[in-house]
Symmetry: C2
Subunit: 252 residues, 2 copies
């Protein structure tokens, strides 16, 4: 059977794009690793045989993607950055704002992520890891009497343990990203309440229940509790339209 020609629409490839590609490829191949430095702009000009404007456009693109960072006056040149989820969060934030993406969808997504991570954790955890979780609970209880930042840090540590135990960092990364997006959306409504002591105590209670279910090996129950807690947490701050899908996630 003779194939149709199947021509592809051709769009011009700009010079700065090929520079971006070359640098990204070098990163993927491992020729460039985080912490290393790129040559200075003027040096790149001669290496790529283009003008400085073109080099700079390429560097701006890489910089907006979180790949490199340029600092004025730094004689070492632009720095290759380790990967962070910041650009991912930025993209998702735009998706949430520009596209119609409701709060319910974001929260539902978090409920799924959190539930899945905890369900995996309750199945895959070792006894040592369980002890580690309980250790973070103790740290959280202690942090309540310090300040909200300490508590927030202990909470982060807990989720980090969950991520490691579930053996899927992508879940926790996405969870973290969406968490940041939601926070950005409802920041005004939550601002003066986050440091409430009662809130921290309730959060601790929730975490304790989850760990209890994990210890019992009941991943199903652990996930349901986690989703319920997340739902309660957000519902306390902001009216949620379209609750039915969220309720469905809790009912299982």
């Amino acid at each position: 059977m003779a194939q149709e020609p199947k021509f592809q629409p051709v769009q011009p490839v700009r010079a700065y794009q090929r520079i971006v590609e070359q640098i990204e490829d070098a990163l993927i191949r491992g020729d460039l690793t985080p912490g290393q430095r790129l040559p200075s702009e003027r040096e790149l000009v001669s290496q790529f045989a283009v003008s400085r404007s073109t080099v700079r456009e390429a560097l701006r693109v890489l910089e907006s993607g979180g790949v490199v960072r340029s600092r004025p006056g730094d004689p070492n040149g632009p720095e290759i950055l380790p990967f962070t989820s910041a650009p991912l969060r930025k993209q998702l934030f735009r998706l949430a704002r520009v596209d119609q993406l409701t709060l319910s969808e974001l929260i539902g997504f978090r409920m799924i992520m959190d539930g899945a991570a905890i369900q995996l954790a309750s199945r895959l955890r070792t006894d040592e890891q369980l002890a580690e979780m309980e250790q973070t609970l103790v740290a959280m209880r202690a942090a309540i009497d310090v300040d909200f930042n300490a508590f927030s840090e202990a909470d982060l540590a807990f989720h980090e343990v969950i991520a490691r135990v579930s053996r899927n960092s992508l879940i926790e990364t996405c969870n973290e990203v969406v968490r940041g997006v939601v926070l950005g959306l409802i920041a005004d409504k939550i601002a003066n309440a986050t440091n409430s002591r009662a809130l921290m105590l309730e959060s601790l209670q929730h975490h304790t229940e989850v760990v209890e279910a994990i210890r019992a090996g009941d991943g199903h129950a652990a996930a349901r509790i986690a989703r319920q807690n997340l739902y309660d947490y957000y519902a306390a701050y902001v009216p949620l339209p379209d609750r039915e899908p969220l309720q469905a996630l809790i009912d299982d």
Copy 2:
């Protein structure tokens, strides 16, 4: 209680960044909508009171984020684009390649996403939507005799219905993004097999089982079948290290 000064580390804000912010803000506020055109670069130069280099760097950043598209010679100026998941996929792809992100994690993530969407769908679906799903199955069966592209399109239509019924487009967006990333990672191993007729038939069979479970209202079973199918699909092509978490997702 007197607050500590709490100074923030200040990093210089470049001119091009403020241009990007202004345009993104205008997009979020709705002053700019997809399809509209930005003024020409030289016009923006006078509006922002900066040089063309600066305007161009801002445009390159926006372009790399999928916000606008510039075409040489277009007298209408840069075009505001509708949101696509392409930049999201690019970011995640980089995370997968540069950072340590295993195939198992990506596939596990898809299993969770797919399962959750289908579980939601089986709970929230109306009879009309169920009929719609079955309609796409008919279309898929018909598409098998045409070519692989038609089948792939019908498959996409099925997932689109699921996304709508689950009332959470974010789930399907993420699923789609990760699907693209995985495809990019294992493209070499899957290349010459994707158009196999047997494969299409098997895929259709899987979809049929899922719809059957959705009809029965058994979200639990529907999700498990979906996860199992996804696992089988990938396992047929590529050896999966660290299968235990994936198996845990299937066992429930």
